[in-house]
């Protein structure tokens, strides 16, 4: 599992005063989408986490993304029936659902975590999904569980 921050924070330079960038973590199965670096989306600090199979995702990893200050988490998996490892995407779906339930109980909101099936290499749809997530986030607002005091991000 490789983690790469694709876009550095451009926080205060977005031109809209001191509204910080929205932080988005994208976990993507390598087969669904190998690389997000081609995307250029302003106002967004995008973390891309590449997985050999979406089934590698443990619930705690999704939660830790929120602990680290992500405002939303998107999981991109292969369409049902075409997982190279048979049921990897189905397992990922179940885990996402369990974490969504937890997020709701915590009070952060289950809508901040979403899973999408993506046809292989369909970067255009991936971009649409990310942009839509950001648009929805503008209404929902930032992660209500702020970063710990002393953190550089916020």
């Amino acid at each position: 599992m490789t983690t790469a921050s694709v876009r550095p924070s451009t926080g205060k330079n977005t031109g809209s005063g001191n509204i910080p960038d929205l932080k988005l973590s994208v976990f993507h199965c390598f087969n669904a989408l190998p690389d997000l670096s081609v995307l250029d989306i302003p106002g967004c600090e995008l973390s891309s986490i590449n997985l050999p199979c979406s089934s590698i995702l443990r619930e705690v990893v999704l939660l830790k993304a929120f602990e680290s200050g992500a405002d939303a988490v998107v999981v991109l998996v292969c369409p049902e029936g075409s997982c190279d490892y048979q049921q990897g995407n189905l397992r990922a779906k179940k885990r996402v659902e369990r974490v969504q339930k937890l997020l709701k109980e915590i009070g952060i909101g289950n809508d901040r975590l979403r899973i999408h099936n993506l046809s292989r290499q369909d970067i255009d749809t991936a971009e649409k999904i990310i942009r839509q997530t950001l648009a929805d986030l503008k209404k929902t607002g930032q992660n209500p569980a702020p970063q710990p005091v002393g953190s550089e991000k916020r």
Partner: protein, 222 residues
Amino acid sequence: MIVGEQKPLGEIKTNVSPYHRLLILGCGTCVKTCFAGGEDEVATLASALRLAFKQEGRIMQITEQTIERQCEDEFIREAAPQVARCDAVLSLACGAGVQMVASRFPGVPVLPGVNTTFLGVLEKQGLFTEKCLGCGSCFVHQFAGVCPLSRCAKKLLNGPCGGSRNGKCEVDPETDCAWQLIIDRAKAAGSLDRLVDYIPPKDWRTSYAGGPRKVFREDYVI
């Protein structure tokens, strides 16, 4: 295995709120197999609690450790260093493990994070069902291998009640009528006629009704 379910997050959060340095102690045996309190569940719960407290502007320090079993000193000892550094332990073991940990660390609040339910099996993917009451004098062979004490809601020993319908129990239409199961198995084994025999009342002394029980294997003590 012993089957249990993790308590709802809200309940756990309320119970641990008075503390500041929490140790979540998992168990690698029964509760791990029913997805209630193993290492993964400990990690998920720790993260969820931290997030939940953060949301209220509070930092809750949480450490995590999972030991093989919480019903044996040999493994509980491994948790001693972590226990010493916390002000409360949230144990995800079954009720037996929680109490054992509590008794080994007097003075440290030990809170249960799992609701222990029954002695059961993994019937099929995701489904755990109750099978044994722990009556202390097993007689399932008299019932074609199906226990009427744990699986019949009325603990009937001499045949089904009038509420058995389509092989299901009147109490819960998704629960099999134990007596239907017993009769079907007896029929298949050609021993249906044995079910005419009068089964006398159960002696409950060997069960929990006789008081908390113990088994002492002196033959294993050095």
